[in-house]
């Protein structure tokens, strides 16, 4: 039972355009969400996070949007760069006082020059 879903396995975007990666979740008790980026042969690295009390968080070219009623979050990358090509995982956490993350299946982003 996949509680966190990324329905698009891959996404191709041209350099300079916007990349939008989507993530849906089923458990309404999740209250903290994170995005990680993973390059081949490397471990995932943290990108950006958002608490359920917010609907938007921005960090440079990266913005995460949270729609709690739809149980949906998205990551916007503007402008996209070839170095952004990687697999992106969304993750969700419960407010249990302990950070046990539930990860999505990942979306492979390819940004072409």
């Amino acid at each position: 039972d996949q509680q966190v879903k990324q329905n698009s396995p891959s996404l191709s975007v041209q350099e300079g355009r916007i990349s939008i990666l989507n993530c849906d979740y089923t458990n309404s008790m999740f209250d903290y969400f994170l995005w990680y980026k993973k390059y081949p042969a490397e471990g995932p690295t943290f990108l950006i996070s958002i608490s359920s009390i917010k609907d938007k968080n921005e960090d440079g070219r990266f913005t995460v949007f949270l729609n709690k009623s739809a149980k949906h979050l998205s990551l916007h990358i503007v402008p996209s760069q070839p170095g952004d090509s990687a697999v992106y995982f969304c993750a969700a956490a419960l407010n249990t006082g302990f950070q046990k993350l539930v990860f999505g299946t990942g979306t492979r982003l390819l940004v072409s020059p």
Binding site: Y32, S49, K100, F103, T105
Partner: protein
Amino acid sequence: DVKVTQSSRYLVKRTGEKVFLECVQDMDHENMFWYRQDPGLGLRLIYFSYDVKMKEKGDIPEGYSVSREKKERFSLILESASTNQTSMYLCASSPPGGRDEQFFGPGTRLTVL
């Protein structure tokens, strides 16, 4: 700089062998995690530990055990390796509390023949 290291990048073992995967972090983090990453399934939590000698089962603990004798070291043990344990294994650590990112190691690609 934050660092999580894993003992091997690539490992090939035979069915039935006992396999040890080692993870060391230098950040004095209380929490440590073991995940496996498989195509189409994302990252799935095997075991985690929030203190020395403490361990908790994750979502897929069957066929695995763990050991945490020192704060900086978290070992994953495959008691009797099977072909369905061929995967990428990722170790992570995080400070105490629930709102900090997890830091990942580079991963160990394990192949069981």
